[in-house]
């Protein structure tokens, strides 16, 4: 097992590396030894039954949840080190949640502008220009002055993506971002993510959209009860799953 505080044993070109990550909530073990490497520009999808620890995994990667054991390195920073600079980490990793969690008292544009101004202390005018550009990127030009409560779920989710992008992260994580949306708006959000991936953004997606995972992922990880059961290119994992647990899960969802 790798020692904490160094980058020992983790390959150089991975943007996100996990080694034997363990996490329990009380007596329940939620992550039971997860290892994975995500290279720059990779798009990986994590699939698996409810409660298998997918959300917890993403939350460990940006230190919203502390791990019990193991090592996580993101963009050269050891997340599991006690001296971790959380702000520096969160500049590198963006996360978008299922419940978009926009700040309801601010307009769409302000939502995108807030963190760069408050957290990064960047110049307001520069940030506004960036924010307008990002609103165009997620195809929401014209909605800048709307409050979250005035936007559809899909529109809110795209604002949430723009808000994360405004921090100029190296890795974007998406936690079932389409699960709360109606089918109409799912497509808009998936389009946004697809375009991001095509631009070369490193993406980690937890998703129930198997069709999308198959289309977009470089690699798919199947998790069950806190461990990675198997992983591989989508063609292999969806086409000829090796483990019976994977097969059973896929039969259920496909």
């Amino acid at each position: 097992m790798a020692a904490g505080g160094t980058m020992s044993g983790i390959s150089g070109d991975a943007v996100v590396s996990l080694r034997d990550v363990h996490k329990s909530f009380g007596a329940t073990e939620v992550l039971g030894g997860i290892s994975m490497d995500v290279g720059r520009g990779d798009v990986v999808c994590i699939i698996g039954p409810s409660g298998s620890g997918k959300s917890t995994l993403l939350r460990c990667i940006n230190a919203l949840v502390p791990v019990d054991r193991g090592e996580i390195v993101v963009a050269g920073m050891t997340v599991t080190s006690p001296t971790l600079d959380k702000l520096a980490l969160r500049r590198k990793v963006g996360i978008v949640f299922q419940q978009y969690n926009l700040f309801p008292h601010k307009t769409a544009l302000q939502n995108v502008m807030m963190a760069p101004i408050h957290v990064l202390k960047r110049d307001r005018r520069e940030v506004e220009e960036l924010a307008r550009q990002l609103m165009r990127k997620v195809r929401l030009s014209g909605k800048e002055a709307c409050y979250p409560g005035e936007l559809s779920g899909g529109q809110q989710q795209r604002v949430a993506i723009a808000r994360s992008l405004a921090m100029k992260p190296e890795v974007m994580m998406f936690d079932e971002v389409t699960a709360a949306l109606d089918p109409e708006t799912v497509k808009e959000v998936l389009t946004t993510i697809r375009e991001l991936a095509e631009d070369g953004m490193t993406c980690m997606l937890v998703t129930h959209e198997m069709g999308f995972a198959r289309e977009i992922a470089d690699r798919v990880y199947f998790t069950d009860r806190g461990v990675i059961v198997e992983h591989g290119p989508p063609k292999e994992l969806f086409g000829s799953p090796r483990d019976p647990r994977t097969r059973e899960f896929l039969e259920h969802v496909l």
Binding site: K86, F97, P104, H118, V119, C146, G149, L151
Partner: protein, 246 residues
């Protein structure tokens, strides 16, 4: 001319509103009004500061700080406000050091007006702590998670996200408490602060027009509270978020 009309009113209908024609009573009452307004404004501002500060400290990671706030809230919520006023003015006030006034004499660190502000702000502030606490707890964890994931510190998230939302959620309860507080400023009568009740009593004792002054006092408070309610309503409307209803 107005004074003349009220003098006539006394002669013809035996309604003796001295404050409108007697210069001394008029000034006494105006001074009472000004004092009540100042007292209310000071308590309003301070009690909101105590409420916000207390609610913040209550979430501190350091247990003794939380106990301190909880103790403060329990003490001021569960003891009579009049007893608290006496406690400060006669109790704490008497053991405070006297300040030399430079002319050979001494004076107290705080006068009765200031003690009234301190005591009543702490009292209303204890309720405000609870009100803001409820508002903060009503802000979804998911919202603070999002702030944290964007790199906000706990304090930064409190200032920019939690507090603005919690404040809006708290407004109706805060309105009630502030109205109660303004009405409650009359207890300052007990330590001789020349506020409206004290002024009215001075006037009706001298001019023996108790029924008239009672009515004037009540109407004045109705107007004061009415102004406060309208102002709070304006704030509520100004802070309304389009499309946001909870």
């Amino acid at each position: 001319m107005v004074a003349e009309w009220f003098r006539q009113l006394k002669e013809s209908a035996n309604v003796n509103l001295t404050i409108f024609y007697d210069r001394f009573d008029g000034l006494t009452y105006l001074n009472g009004l000004a004092t009540t307004v100042k007292l209310s404004a000071a308590c309003l501002a301070l009690s909101v500061v105590f409420g916000i500060g207390g609610a913040w400290l209550q979430r501190s990671g350091w247990a003794p700080l939380r106990w301190l706030v909880n103790g403060y809230v329990a003490f001021f919520r569960n003891t009579p406000p009049l007893a608290q006023l006496y406690f400060f003015y006669f109790g704490v006030g008497s053991i405070m050091p006297l300040i030399p006034d430079g002319a050979g004499g001494t004076h107290r660190l705080f006068d009765n007006f200031q003690w009234a502000v301190i005591s009543m702000s702490l009292f209303a502030g204890a309720f405000n702590v609870e009100i803001f606490r409820a508002g903060i707890e009503a802000v979804p964890k998911a919202t603070t998670d999002a702030a944290e994931a964007l790199g906000y510190s706990r304090f930064g998230a409190y200032i920019h996200i939690v507090l603005p939302l919690a404040f809006r959620i708290s407004l109706p309860a805060l309105n009630n408490n502030l109205v109660t507080m303004v009405k409650g400023t009359t207890i300052a009568y007990a330590i001789g602060v020349p506020e409206l009740l004290t002024a009215s009593a001075t006037i009706w004792n001298a001019s023996t027009n108790i029924p008239e002054m009672m009515n004037v006092l009540m109407i004045t408070f109705l107007a004061l509270v009415g102004i406060l309610v309208v102002a709070m309503h304006r704030i509520e409307r100004a802070l309304h978020i389009p499309g946001y209803n909870r």
